[in-house]
């Protein structure tokens, strides 16, 4: 059994290593368009992991994710820029994440008391409030036109195209440099979020979602954990906001509207609630789809090229229809999202591989996939 486990671990390590190598090599082969898709996807993945923790794991519906993304993005821009304190950019980035956490903490008296759909509506108010403040507080946010984002600098190394840099004959512009920053921040998110979910806090949050009564009598401080889920989720959102600001190089209020919050909900639903890998997959899908459709609009049937007005569906609208359809299909046929779909496929493959020999003595506790499916819990 232990030999089996260690082999599984070695296989997993091998896959992780391969994924890291591929991701690190990509900037040498892809042009800026693809890298930008990657940057937005990584930022969205960080934000989606945060929302997944709150809405998927802890079961608290939030429509206010865009607000916390905005706090992170604008927090960074204001703290690092002029007008503003003009702090060192790395410090400003860290403070912006903490600021988003504080914003989540300030909301926690509400989050600790209101449940379900009512919490969704309460968080909805945050988005409108935030949008209004972004439009009117000109001196901090730059009003309707927004502000340009000061490039991040860590120890004299600038994540922008200001200085010439080329590696192995490939010129390293802003996208290439930000790619590695995004990868590092995403890796941190992946590592911490999975640690949280598998540890004591994650189990308490799951218990909160499944039954607050059971959680309470098992010793979980319900209101404290409800608030903590909000704070942690807002910090991931803040980090995602900083990453988005760096990738966009300009922040504008209209981006941080209700539609963004709904996009994030779509990501975690498509990916599968309560899983880090699922949230990541959903984030990549929802982020990359409209960008790809815009790029290849002229080659797609029924989709008009951007800028034309001959009655056909524009690429962004088409992308929205597509992922609306994806949500419906997933809710109907794979309610546990892409993550659940992959897990079931893997279980089926494994049972097919081990089926020919009559019984697999090494893993008696593993129920065959067919049994898993037959007794799926009925809600």
């Amino acid at each position: 059994m232990s030999e089996r486990l260690s082999r599984a671990r070695a296989v997993r390590l091998g896959w992780t290593f391969a994924a890291v190598v591929v991701l690190c090599a990509l900037p040498f082969y892809l042009d800026a368009f693809w890298l930008r898709i990657g940057l937005f996807s990584m930022a969205a993945a960080v934000g989606a992991v945060g929302l997944g923790l709150l809405s998927g794991t802890a079961g608290q519906l939030s429509l206010g994710h865009a607000f916390f993304l905005a706090v992170g993005a604008y927090g960074y821009v204001w703290l690092a820029g002029e007008p503003g304190p003009g702090l060192p950019t790395a410090l400003a980035a860290v403070l912006a994440v903490l600021l988003a956490g504080v914003a989540g903490g300030l909301f926690s008296p509400v989050a600790g008391r209101v449940r379900g759909v009512y919490l969704g509506v309460a968080t909805l108010a945050l988005v409108f409030l935030g949008h209004h403040v972004l439009l009117t507080a000109d001196s901090v946010t730059g009003g309707f036109n927004g502000r340009s984002v000061p490039p991040l600098e860590v120890g004299g190394f600038s994540f922008s195209a200001d200085s010439e840099l080329s590696l192995l004959g490939v010129p390293f512009g802003a996208e290439e440099r930000l790619w590695y920053l995004g990868l590092a921040l995403f890796a941190i998110t992946w590592f911490t979020a999975r640690g949280l979910l598998r540890g004591r806090p994650g189990r308490a949050l799951v218990a909160l979602r499944d039954s607050e009564t059971a959680a309470a009598v098992m010793g979980v401080d319900v209101s404290r954990y409800r608030s903590a889920a909000f704070v942690v989720s807002s910090m991931y959102a803040g980090l995602a906001g900083v990453m988005l600001a760096l990738a966009f190089r300009r922040v504008v209020p209209d981006y941080f509207g209700l539609v963004l919050s709904v996009d994030y909900l779509a990501m975690i639903v498509i990916g599968g609630l309560g899983s880090v890998a699922g949230a990541t997959a959903g984030a990549v899908f929802v982020t990359a789809l409209p960008l790809l459709m815009t790029r290849y609009a002229d080659q797609l049937p029924l989709v008009a090229a951007p800028g034309t007005t001959d009655g056909a569906v524009g690429p962004t609208e088409a992308a929205r229809y597509l992922y609306g359809a994806a949500i419906v299909l997933i809710l109907l046929f794979a309610p546990d999202g892409l993550h659940g779909l992959v897990r079931r496929l893997r279980a089926r493959l494994r049972s097919r591989r081990t089926a020919p020999p009559p019984a697999d003595a090494a893993s008696p506790s593993q129920p065959p996939a067919s049994a898993v499916r037959a007794k799926e819990p009925t809600p």
Partner: protein, 266 residues
């Protein structure tokens, strides 16, 4: 599971009254659970047994009266504080969380472990060590209740009896001094009932805890309980050993209804 060296504190319920908008669910209920005993709470449907459990575990605050565990006053404490003081309970309708048996039992270890958000997120060494230790304790509880073979199975795939056992094991994981069991054998077949009775006997002998039991199976109550308190319409109508209670005319009337009235008429 560590065996308790000192006797658990006594659970004392004094004059507890609970009203739900005009309905008096509990009316000046008093009883004491002797340390290390099995105390059964019986009565017809709607007598207030579950309300009484909700008061004991802090889910429901009484209008008047007190609940004390040894020197600690539990009356106004939040449920998670009562749990931390060593009062664990199961539910009449099974309330488990998603995930494996191990996940559920580790939830039971929540109050006895420390690692918070930061330590778990950064996977600090002490958090990982704690997780390993808690897992070992959870496995012990699973073995004790006969859930060992199912330790890594998802709870949703277990049979009804096994899921009831998961709740029981999860409550044991709290290392309670008082264990509240709400209909532990309801819906079980005969073999499962026997097994549950054995486990209750075993944990009481090994861990020396007090058990408060709500159960409709009178045979089981009579075999298991040291003391019985009978509730009817929120009032305590009888109290004593199983034999005393069985002969009590008030109890017969509450359960059989017309028995006493028929005698009166005759």
């Amino acid at each position: 599971m560590t065996t308790r060296t000192t006797a658990p504190p006594a659970l004392t319920v004094t004059d507890v009254t609970v009203r739900f908008a005009g309905l008096t669910a509990l009316d000046a209920v008093s009883f004491t659970v002797t340390p290390g005993s099995v105390h059964a709470l019986i009565g017809p449907n709607g007598a207030g047994k579950s309300t009484c459990f909700n008061v004991l575990s802090g889910l429901c605050r009484p209008a008047t009266g007190t609940v004390r565990l040894g020197d600690a006053d539990l009356t106004r404490l939040a449920p998670h504080r009562i749990a931390a003081l060593g009062v664990a309970r199961t539910f009449q309708n099974i309330v488990t969380t998603q995930g494996t048996v191990a996940d559920n039992l580790l939830l039971g270890r929540h109050a006895l472990s420390r690692s918070g958000f930061t330590a778990s997120a950064l996977r600090l060494p002490h958090a990982r060590r704690e997780q390993r230790e808690q897992l070992a304790r959870a496995r012990e509880a699973a073995e004790l209740t006969g859930l060992g073979p199912h330790f890594d199975s998802p709870v949703a795939l277990l049979s009804y009896g096994d899921r009831k056992r998961v709740e029981f094991a999860r409550a044991l994981c709290l290392e309670p001094s008082v264990l509240l069991l709400d209909e532990p054998v309801a819906g079980m077949n005969a073999a499962e009932r026997v097994r549950t009775v054995e486990v209750v006997h075993a944990v009481r002998a090994e861990l020396g805890l007090s058990v408060v039991l709500v159960e409709h199976d009178m045979g089981l109550v009579m075999r298991l309980a040291d003391e019985v308190t009978v509730l009817d319409f929120g009032r305590v109508i009888a109290h004593g050993t199983p034999d005393e209670v069985r002969r009590d005319p008030e109890v017969l009337r509450a359960y059989l209804g017309t028995g006493a009235e028929a005698e009166d008429a005759a």
